[in-house]
């Protein structure tokens, strides 16, 4: 087990290095000049050239990458004289657009995304698995048809519109909630909940749909398993059979997909964050793309990649825990 984890982590680091190299290469291949993007009203060739030096894009891509790698371990210094400043290790660089070290930006935006993801995850698992289970237990009845309709609608609706619909209906038309204004839960938990409840719901409604289907089908499949019939034949109560036999079997694929879904959400829920004005990592990432802010782009990409890689490792381990047949020795 220990060796397995070490080996997985080693490959994870290699993968992350590859991701950062690819991000750099892709970025340098873009037909966009970041120096021209940020030069404002005085966009003359000499100003652009000076800007390029300031942003560090005058250096070769190899050198830029080397400075980036070095920065992760020893930090980076910028400017000179009174205008000098530094981004301490682990540094992913400095965003000249936002006047902050990338690590600081990620450190500030990540908790927002994490709260969003965790809350939405809990909600969608409850809604998705719950409605899927109800549908499976009432196969063919109205509950099942309702769940099917929910699934069909849920998986086909774009996040953007659902988000706006939820926002407009609850906040603007009905006036039930004030406009979401993100506050850290440590500062004001009630305001925090006010700001998060709608984005949670939006993400939950949309993601729950596929879990409803997954749970329903998984449970129906499991119910036809001989071992479930044996469970009933043993004289076990319905709830025990459902829990230990049906759900347990249906849970394995759900956990796998949930782990990966959750990880990709941690990389930033771009649309939900935009609609609900949550200052999270998704917004940070999308902004870095629009503004060709390479350090932020690389930083957010890497952090997302870390979560995806970690989630894969965790899902693999969970798989072993959940299903003895694939347990690693």
């Amino acid at each position: 087990m220990f060796l397995f984890v070490v080996r997985r982590l080693f490959f994870a680091v290699l993968l992350l290095l590859a991701v950062s190299v690819v991000t750099y290469l892709l970025f340098s291949a873009l037909p966009v000049d970041p120096a021209a993007l940020t030069c404002g009203k005085n966009c003359k060739p000499d100003i652009i050239a000076a800007n390029r030096i300031r942003l560090g894009y005058d250096k070769s891509i190899v050198e830029q990458y080397w400075l980036f790698l070095k920065g992760i371990f020893v930090g980076r210094d910028y400017g000179m004289g009174q205008a000098a400043f530094s981004c301490p290790a682990p540094s992913f660089g400095y965003s000249f657009a936002q006047h902050e070290c990338v690590t600081t930006l990620i450190g500030r935006t990540f908790p927002v995304t994490a709260y969003l993801s965790i809350g939405a995850f809990i909600m969608w698992m409850i809604i998705g698995v719950g409605s899927g289970a109800i549908a499976a237990l009432n196969k063919g009845k109205w509950q099942d048809r309702l769940a099917n309709a929910f699934t069909a609608v849920g998986v086909s609706l774009p996040t953007f519109y659902v988000g706006l619909l939820v926002l407009f209906s609850v906040v603007i038309w009905l006036g039930i909630l004030p406009f979401p204004d993100y506050v850290s839960p440590l500062e004001d938990p009630i305001k925090f909940l006010n700001a998060m409840i709608l984005p949670w719901l939006t993400l939950a409604i949309l993601s729950a749909a596929s879990y409803t289907r997954l749970t329903r089908n998984g449970m129906l499949e499991a119910m036809n398993e001989d071992f479930v019939r044996l469970g009933v034949a043993k004289g076990l109560s319905r709830s025990v059979v459902l829990r230990k036999y049906v759900m347990r079997a249906a849970m394995v694929p759900i956990v796998t997909i949930a782990g990966l879904d959750f990880a990709s959400l941690l990389g930033g829920a771009i649309i939900t964050e935009s609609v609900f004005s949550l200052p999270g990592m998704g917004k940070l990432a999308i902004r870095s793309v629009v503004e060709s802010d390479l350090p932020v782009l690389v930083g957010t990409t890497l952090v997302s990649a870390v979560f995806i890689v970690l989630a894969n490792v965790i899902v693999d381990i969970m798989y072993g825990v959940l299903d003895p047949r694939v347990r690693v020795k």
Partner: protein
């Protein structure tokens, strides 16, 4: 007829399923009695209603789609109409079941020891941890699992098919049930293992005195184990007889075909009933009259009677042989003796 007391009484059992294509009449008007310590075989092709019958005895059929009528009395309780709690009390303690495929009958997520223990604990909530453990080891030893203390902590996938079926039997017998339903218990196993499992079941029957309802399509197994046999076709019993009588003088054209299949068993080693022309009828749309008439080479001997009138189960052959066929008794005995010999 056995003089021992009945442990299972089935009266006019009919089971139908609602499907999107219509109503499937899986079992029609089935009646039989199983006595203490007795072994009754039910034989038939797949789709003859034998597995549905087995499931009905423990009310394991899907409660939404299946409709059952008639009575199934176990320990004085009508399984079909009793409350869920009452039925649950019977399951595993009075009446237990061994499934066809040991590969899928065990829960892959729990150790076999746990699964045996679970079956015991549900009917012995007062048992201590130590008692339960002792019971698990006892059962594993009984069904012939070597090294039970160690193997109890292993998962089903770590066992061979035969070993798994032994575990299933251990689970079924952990509460000393009075009735054991064995639904094709050896079909999925290697031929060499089949005999071992049958032997084990018979040995345990002797020890516990339980009645066994053996459901199979394999007359060879029936011949080895059962005393009385029900032959089912299209959800109905078409012949009911003593094993020896059945093999000696079968009294239904379908049984004649089945016995032909036994003969071919010696050649093909697998008991597929290919010697009967045609295929079993769709349960959605049963043939009129005698359901067997489209495949019966003697149907024409009765004019239109076989296609219009459903035959009743009546004594046709020697001793206790009952058969549902319109052919005259003399004709049946005549043909039956030919087949039997």
């Amino acid at each position: 007829m056995s003089s021992q007391k009945p442990v299972l009484i089935v009266e006019n059992l009919s089971v139908s399923f609602a499907t999107p294509d219509g109503i499937v009449h899986a079992v029609n008007d089935l009646s039989f009695v199983l006595h203490e310590g007795e072994t009754l075989g039910i034989v038939g092709e797949s789709g003859s209603g034998k597995s549905v019958t087995a499931a009905s005895l423990m009310r394991l059929n899907n409660s939404v789609t299946a409709t059952s009528t008639g009575r199934v009395v176990v320990a004085g309780v009508d399984v079909l109409s009793a409350s869920e709690a009452d039925v649950r009390r019977l399951r595993g303690s009075e009446i237990a079941m061994v499934f066809q495929d040991p590969m899928s009958a065990l829960n892959p997520y729990y150790t076999v020891g746990y699964q045996i223990a679970e079956a015991y604990e549900v009917h012995h909530p007062e048992a201590s941890k130590a008692q339960v453990n002792a019971k698990v080891l006892e059962m594993m030893t009984k069904v012939g699992i070597p090294n039970p203390a160690q193997r109890a902590d292993e998962y089903p996938h770590q066992f061979s098919g035969g070993m798994r079926q032994r575990i299933v039997i251990a689970i079924a017998l952990v509460n000393d049930p009075k009735i054991l339903i064995a639904d094709e218990p050896t079909t999925a196993l290697d031929v060499t293992v089949q005999a071992q499992i049958l032997d084990l079941m018979l040995a345990l029957q002797v020890e516990n005195g339980m009645a066994i309802l053996l459901i199979t399509h394999d007359l060879g197994v029936i011949a080895e184990v059962a005393r009385d046999v029900l032959v089912m076709y299209a959800g109905r019993v078409v012949e009911k007889a003593d094993v020896e009588d059945l093999f000696e003088i079968p009294t239904h054209p379908y049984s004649w075909g089945l016995l032909g299949a036994v003969a071919s068993l010696e050649v093909s080693s697998r008991g597929h009933l290919r010697t009967i022309e045609g295929t079993p009828p769709s349960l959605l749309n049963l043939p009129s009259g005698c359901a067997f008439h489209p495949r019966c080479s003697f149907a024409s001997e009765n004019g239109s009677r076989c296609t219009t009138e459903t035959p009743l189960l009546v004594q046709k052959g020697p001793k206790h042989s009952f058969s549902a066929c319109h052919l005259p008794v003399e004709r049946i005995v005549e043909i039956g003796q030919k087949v039997g010999n």
